[in-house]
């Protein structure tokens, strides 16, 4: 299905795309058809910097299960960082 569901968040950091590293300004998160992954629907994240054009993008397409595992890993990694660092 075309879920159309799209969340957009401002992000601060860097990503490495087809032309090398660039500063990131936003991420769009959506659950929809992938371009490449072999699943009908995937959790897709586009890390972007629209100021540098549409090709300034790092894309991932994850199965729902692996996206949840990734989200949990991010949370637990941040939680276990030394106090005051994260």
């Amino acid at each position: 299905m075309c879920t159309y569901l799209t969340e957009k968040v401002a992000v601060d950091g860097s990503g490495k795309g087809a032309s090398g590293w660039f500063a990131l300004s936003e991420a769009t998160v959506y659950f929809d058809h992938p371009q490449h992954a072999a699943a009908e629907h995937t959790l897709n994240i586009d890390f972007r910097n629209p100021g540098q054009g549409p090709s300034a993008r790092v894309a991932v397409e994850l199965t729902a299960e692996s996206a949840r595992a990734l989200a949990a890993a991010i949370e637990s990694t941040l939680a276990s960082a030394p106090p005051g660092l994260a």
Partner: protein, 247 residues
């Protein structure tokens, strides 16, 4: 039968006279040929959609697929362009109608045109095919599993699409609808509601819903592909366009 064809990227005048990219596939015979505007799905102006455009030319139609994301991402790869368009809220309805009008005008102006033009769209393009057929004078339209003709998308999403079933009274041509029974967007109930609205408005339409098929069953390079539904769906398209576009 002489069956040579040609396919190439061109520019046409879209909404507001904007120069937009389009993929044109045309038979090289003398014609006259009917014209088809192929409206790409949300993942964009990609290889699969270009293949579909060429398929229409191989079947004797001049076909053109406008790149609806030209403005957001000129020259970008289709997936980057689709991501940029999604982040910006998608294609506004008014602009879509203007871009399809540009494509239809181009088709009807060809020397070997029979003067007829229709649309076909997949996924978000299915909704847009219906929208175009309710907004422009066309000869035939095909809606392949277009979501949100009926039904309101969840609140808080970035994309600006709303229901357009109320436009059924303005439908300018016969409509062929091809759907999957397992689809949730549009669900069988939503397809039934559209059918009811078209019948109430006295419009010509034919709908087919395929068992065991969901959204995107025509997509040969995706797990959603359902060969039986797709083969029968293509036959329905050839019959339908044969009646309303070919002669």
């Amino acid at each position: 039968m002489y069956d040579a064809m040609m396919a190439e990227t061109i520019n046409i005048a879209g909404h507001g006279g904007d120069r937009i990219e389009a993929y044109l596939a045309r038979p090289l015979g003398p014609g006259p040929f009917g014209g088809v505007v192929v409206i790409h799905h949300m993942p964009g102006y990609d290889e699969g959609t270009k293949e579909i455009t060429r398929k229409f030319a191989a079947h004797g139609y001049t076909a053109i697929c406008p790149n609806l994301y030209t403005r957001e991402a000129p020259g970008a790869s289709p997936d980057d362009a689709a991501a940029a368009a999604r982040a910006l809220g998608g294609v506004p309805d008014e602009r879509l109608v203007g871009d399809v009008l540009g494509a239809v005008t181009f088709l009807r102006a060809q020397l070997n045109s029979n003067g007829k033009a229709g649309t076909i769209g997949y996924c978000s393009g299915g909704r847009q095919s219906f929208l175009a057929a309710c907004s422009l004078p066309l000869d035939a339209a095909v809606d392949c599993y277009g979501a949100f003709i009926v039904g309101t998308p969840p609140e808080g999403i970035a994309l600006k699409v709303g229901p357009i079933v109320h436009l059924a009274k303005d439908l300018s041509c016969p409509l062929l609808g091809l759907f999957g029974e397992d689809d949730k967007h549009p669900s069988p109930d939503q397809v039934a509601e559209l059918e009811k609205a078209l019948a109430a408005a006295g419009k010509m339409f034919e709908f087919h819903s395929y068992e065991g098929a969901g959204h995107g069953f025509f997509s040969v390079d995706r797990p959603a592909y359902r060969p039986e539904a797709a083969k029968d769906g293509w036959q329905k398209i050839w019959d339908f366009y044969g009646r309303y576009l070919a002669n």
